[in-house]
């Protein structure tokens, strides 16, 4: 018996995954708040205004973390679904289902904050340049995934179907980006984008803190959602009954 496999797949057991998620989701949300407060302070209070853009540039502290987390979440979802398909671990699929709504919210937030930034900076709410268009398509991919997830009645089919859709979409995502980039550079439609060249240290620190806060928030909500999904699926099992009784027991 090869022992390292036992530890790699330690949390593939639903019972252990449930306990881990319960223990970890609360602290992750607190970590998010702990990172958010200094990040917000650095971003919106302490750092000076940008030389070119004035105070309006501060929305970067919301926009960039949101965009990064939206893309990262989709990649994570694909990784979890791939794990679930290859090693037949059902909890992996549930992790992906748990990440999807938060990822979609961040995708929407990135588009909205981008528009709010664009209006004072470029004079337009929207422009069909490569990055905006592929972000919009990422949002559509999230929406399609969520619709498919809720269309299924059977849990096993939901796992497999959503996994296939997610993996097909993630392969398509770079293709979408490059096709749209080619389309837009050929059509010369993009306006000049503000240069995010070298950032001053406190600005960079604020950005990093906000990004880590967004990551912690995503992880926390995903864990919480994972808990609830696992509880709903495994409601009939002995181990969940024991766990719940253990929690509710008053000594």
């Amino acid at each position: 018996m090869v022992h390292w496999q036992r530890y790699v797949f330690w949390f593939a057991s639903p019972a252990r995954a449930q306990v881990l998620a319960q223990r970890v989701s609360g602290p992750l949300m607190w970590l998010a708040v702990l990172l958010l407060l200094p990040g917000l302070w650095l971003g919106f209070v302490s750092t000076p205004a940008d030389g070119v853009q004035g105070e309006g540039y501060r929305i970067i502290y919301l926009h960039v973390p949101a965009s990064w987390m939206a893309m990262f979440s989709y990649a994570l979802m694909a990784a979890w679904h791939a794990t679930g398909l290859i090693w037949r671990t059902k909890v992996s699929h549930l992790m992906a289902h748990a990440l999807a709504p938060t990822g979609a919210v961040f995708a929407l937030l990135s588009l909205v904050t981008g528009a709010l930034w664009g209006q004072p900076m470029w004079g337009t709410w929207w422009v069909w340049d490569a990055r905006l268009t592929s972000s919009l398509l990422l949002l559509f991919l999230y929406i399609g995934y969520l619709f498919l997830l809720h269309a299924y009645d059977s849990p096993t089919r939901a796992d497999k179907g959503c996994a296939l859709l997610c993996l097909l979409s993630v392969v398509n995502l770079p293709i979408i980006y490059f096709s749209v980039r080619w389309w837009n550079t050929l059509h010369q439609g993009a306006t000049i984008r503000p240069e995010g060249a070298s950032m001053a240290a406190p600005m960079l620190a604020g950005l990093l803190l906000m990004t880590l806060a967004a990551w912690a928030y995503t992880a926390g909500t995903a864990m919480r959602r994972f808990e609830q999904l696992l509880q709903a699926r495994e409601a009939h099992t002995q181990w969940l009954g024991d766990l719940t009784n253990e929690e509710n027991r008053v000594d």
Partner: protein
């Protein structure tokens, strides 16, 4: 797999595949009206654009390739989005699983047959619509080339989406919603190819990329579609 064990096929699978392809083809041609329906839908949707915009020739030539391709996408998606719904309910897909033929192969066969069935009416109508949009002869030839490659990709993607959404409440609209973001590269490159030729430039790069997307989909989509069918029957 939670379903019944699939019997190992000890004889060649080609007769089964050929039989299935013939069945699909004949079933489609028993109702030739359906094929005409796709062509008419394509015609009508592309006519809506000049009707709703100022129809001067220069504008039409500019928007023509894009409009044409959006109409093609809509026709193809609506044609193939409900492909597996009836087959799932009637038990035909269970026969797929029990036949022992690899699901990817059966899926690929259905995709090829559907592609030919969709291509015929669309390719016949497209030159007519292209003339309405003032596109030149060379552009029409390129349009047909992009149609051959692009409809293949669209049919493959919508077969996968149909397999994923077969038997669910979402139905046709869900399958269409799933395919639309994935069909953007095809749309972009096909439209760019026709626009390039209309300008007088060569469209080799765009057509090559379309070909690459077609080949890549040709490998990935039957495989993913086969897995989706397996999940649909089991789940």
């Amino acid at each position: 797999m939670s379903g019944p064990t699939v019997p190992e096929l000890d004889r060649p699978w080609w007769p089964a595949v050929r039989g299935m392809a013939v069945r699909e083809w004949l079933a489609a041609w028993q109702r030739p009206g359906d094929l005409a329906l796709y062509a008419v839908f394509f015609l009508i949707v592309s006519s809506l654009f000049p009707l709703s915009l100022e129809a001067n020739p220069a504008l039409l030539r500019q928007i023509g390739p894009g409009v044409l391709w959006v109409s093609v996408i809509l026709s193809v998606l609506l044609a193939t989005a409900r492909l597996f719904q009836d087959d799932l309910h009637s038990g035909w897909l269970d026969q797929w699983l029990l036949s022992g033929v690899p699901l990817a192969l059966l899926m690929g066969t259905r995709m090829v047959v559907q592609w030919v069935l969709v291509l015929c009416p669309v390719a016949l109508v497209a030159p007519v619509v292209a003339v309405q949009f003032n596109l030149g002869g060379a552009a029409i030839v390129t349009l047909l080339q992009t149609l051959v490659l692009g409809t293949a990709v669209l049919v493959m993607l919508s077969c996968v989406a149909a397999a994923l959404s077969a038997g669910t409440r979402g139905g046709t609209m869900l399958a269409v919603l799933l395919v639309l973001p994935l069909s953007v590269p095809t749309l972009v490159f096909s439209s760019l190819a026709v626009q390039a030729v209309e300008r007088g430039a060569p469209a080799d790069a765009e057509l090559a990329l379309l070909g690459a997307i077609c080949l890549f989909s040709g490998i990935v989509c039957p495989w993913v579609g086969g897995l989706a069918i397996g999940a649909a029957v089991d789940g």
